[in-house]
């Protein structure tokens, strides 16, 4: 018979087999995908943000920053697009926090927690769906990038940059998961996320080189993982030094995950 045979109550083993975890995670992923089908507008941010931001930065700031860089607008496109991959993944990783907050407030989470499933399945399904959304946004970004004149010099480099952004974004997701569990409403998660992300994104080398910034700010940008992520992505996609920034970014990812994942899981398990 199939492995799905229902164990009679009383003899039920408390441990959930791996197949069970996969089944539960699958059912929850299906749920999140159905959300998108019911409400396609929820994909607008992943679709429009890369378009709007690319056009905005390339055509509004591109000319003057490009001039300073010495490559004009075309040079700026090569500079900013790898950074945009980093920015996009950060911004979209907020979705896990707001989604969780909504689930808690609507009582759906109570339903899940009263079911005999591992609580990790709920986390894992959410993270998988948000990572998929992020990859979708990155694909849109790359299409727009090519349209505004970005030259993909190395496909392996591009894949490497996307992979690195995804790794770092999954570590940041733990921060947003924690916020989603701790804060009372999805709005506060979004507001808090904005407060955290905005300085990190703009106080970095994503949009402009940091050499002209004041010294104290340079100290911040040098250690800002978004700078190292953007620089590593730039090195991978258009050439230049990679190793140093790559290791610092991976280090940040490991550190953030090591600290925040246990906190997020603990808060999630003990939330009443």
């Amino acid at each position: 018979m199939s492995a799905a045979t229902v164990t009679p109550p009383g003899t039920a083993d408390a441990r959930i087999p791996l197949r069970g975890h996969l089944r539960h995670t699958g059912a929850l992923i299906r749920r999140n995908l159905l959300w998108i089908r019911q409400d396609p507008e929820s994909m607008f941010d992943a679709l429009l943000m890369p378009i709007v931001f690319t056009l905005l930065f390339v055509y509004v700031f591109g000319g003057s920053i490009g001039q300073a860089l010495g490559g004009g607008q075309d040079g700026y496109v090569q500079y900013v697009i790898p950074g945009m991959i980093a920015m996009m993944s950060m911004t979209l990783s907020q979705g896990v926090g707001t989604g969780f907050s909504q689930d808690f407030n609507s009582g759906v989470m109570d339903r899940f927690r009263s079911l005999p499933i591992g609580r990790g399945s709920v986390l894992f399904a959410k993270i998988s769906v948000e990572l998929t959304r992020m990859l979708f946004a990155t694909a849109v970004l790359m299409i727009v990038a090519v349209l505004v004149g970005f030259h993909i010099t190395s496909w392996t480099g591009l894949l490497g940059a996307v992979a690195l952004s995804t790794v770092f974004a999954s570590s940041i997701m733990w921060v947003f998961l924690t916020l989603g569990v701790v804060l009372k409403s999805a709005q506060s998660v979004q507001a808090m996320g904005f407060l955290v992300l905005f300085p990190l994104q703009f106080g970095s080398s994503i949009f402009a080189p940091t050499q002209s910034m004041p010294g104290w700010l340079q100290h911040f940008t040098d250690y800002n993982p978004l700078s190292t992520l953007a620089d590593a992505a730039r090195g991978l996609m258009v050439g230049g030094p990679v190793a140093h920034d790559l290791w610092i970014t991976l280090g940040w990812s490991v550190a953030i995950t090591a600290v925040m994942a246990p906190i997020a899981i603990h808060k999630f398990r003990t939330k009443s």
């Binding site: 009383g10 749920r31 159905l34 009582g107 339903r111």
Partner: protein
């Protein structure tokens, strides 16, 4: 009584609660609660807002853990065997806990899969339950378009997917209009007919009387009364007969007459000036007949006559001598004055 052999401690008791305590900061949400629910029965837990009803349900469904005390559901310990316990319970919360963005069918199918039903069985079970709760036509519509009653029915259907042994209903009809409330009551009654044990929390004596065979009254985290519903009703004065004379001027005379009869041997007749009627506490149908007879004998034309169950407030007043501790915006306050005899 049939006993389930593989139920470790189930001596006919589906829910056993001993000395349950739960604090939220300074507040004692539960302050040493004991409770037993026999298999196949409906236990009503009656109390005002903030009495600890929801906390109790959340502990029994393993959503939160108690500070001290113990509880078992279908023989499984809430602290030591939460996973096994979750397999045999159904929960319908105070707020409909279905996914509003999903269609009704998808909600049920998802829960079926989370309960490890094979795909085919989960599909069949979703169809079957939608049919049973009269939601087949709305199966493909997002739940957000459902009416309050439909949502509550879907929530009940969701709790039934795993064929639970014990069902927790936390204020299942709060916020519903009377017609929808009757629908939900009918569904609950039919579930009980299938042998499910139900623990139901409510703020309404009427709901408890309709559904429960036994009642536990809680206030400020403590059990203040418990037992068979008929015994408790006798204790709190059963029903109230409301007689409105067609001629308002005869009101006081009628009240004085009824009070003088001493038929019910209970608290004195009360005059409700706002509605122009007399309120007479009655314990039995015989007393009811006697009072109606007395009114007829006096020759007063009756404008209307109804019997009412005591409100939660009145239950509390009779059991504890004080009003329910939380403000009751759901129970209309009545203006009354004692008849001076």
């Amino acid at each position: 009584m049939t006993r389930i052999d593989d139920n470790p401690s189930g001596a006919g008791s589906a829910v056993t609660v001993r000395g349950l305590v739960k604090h939220y900061g300074e507040t004692r949400a539960l302050d040493g609660v004991d409770l037993d629910v026999r298999e196949g029965t409906v236990m009503g837990v009656l109390g005002p807002n903030g009495a600890g009803k929801t906390t109790l349900v959340r502990i029994l469904s393993t959503l939160i853990t108690p500070d001290t005390g113990s509880a078992t559901v279908a023989g499984y310990d809430v602290l030591r065997q939460p996973r096994q316990l979750r397999r045999v319970i159904g929960l319908t919360g105070q707020y409909a806990s279905v996914d509003e963005k999903l269609p009704g069918w998808e909600n049920l199918y998802m829960i079926g899969r989370l309960l490890d039903l094979p795909r085919k069985t989960a599909r069949a079970r979703a169809d079957e339950l939608l049919e049973r709760f009269s939601l087949t036509e709305a199966a493909k519509r997002p739940t957000s378009t459902y009416s309050g009653g439909m949502r509550r029915r879907l929530d009940l259907a969701a709790s039934m997917i795993g064929r639970p042994q014990v069902l927790f209903l936390d204020e299942p009809t709060t916020g519903l209009d009377p017609r929808t409330r009757n629908e939900v009551w009918a569904e609950v009654t039919s579930m009980v007919g299938e042998g499910v044990t139900v623990l139901l929390t409510t703020q309404y004596m009427e709901e408890a009387e309709q559904l429960a065979s036994e009642l536990t009254v809680v206030d400020r985290g403590k059990v203040i009364a418990g037992g068979a519903i008929d015994d408790l009703k006798a204790k709190v004065g059963g029903r109230t007969l409301r007689v409105r004379p067609a001629d308002p001027l005869r009101l006081r005379a009628l009240a004085a007459h009824l009070d003088g009869l001493g038929i019910t041997g209970l608290a004195s007749t009360v005059v409700d000036t706002e509605t122009g009627s007399c309120l007479v506490p009655i314990l039995s149908d015989d007393q009811l007949t006697a009072v109606v007879g007395a009114v007829t004998a006096l020759g007063v034309t009756i404008g209307s006559i109804t019997t009412e169950l005591p409100s939660l407030d009145e239950v509390f007043l009779s059991l504890t001598g004080h009003r329910a501790s939380a403000p009751q915006d759901t129970v209309p306050a009545e203006t009354r004055e004692e008849v001076a005899v």
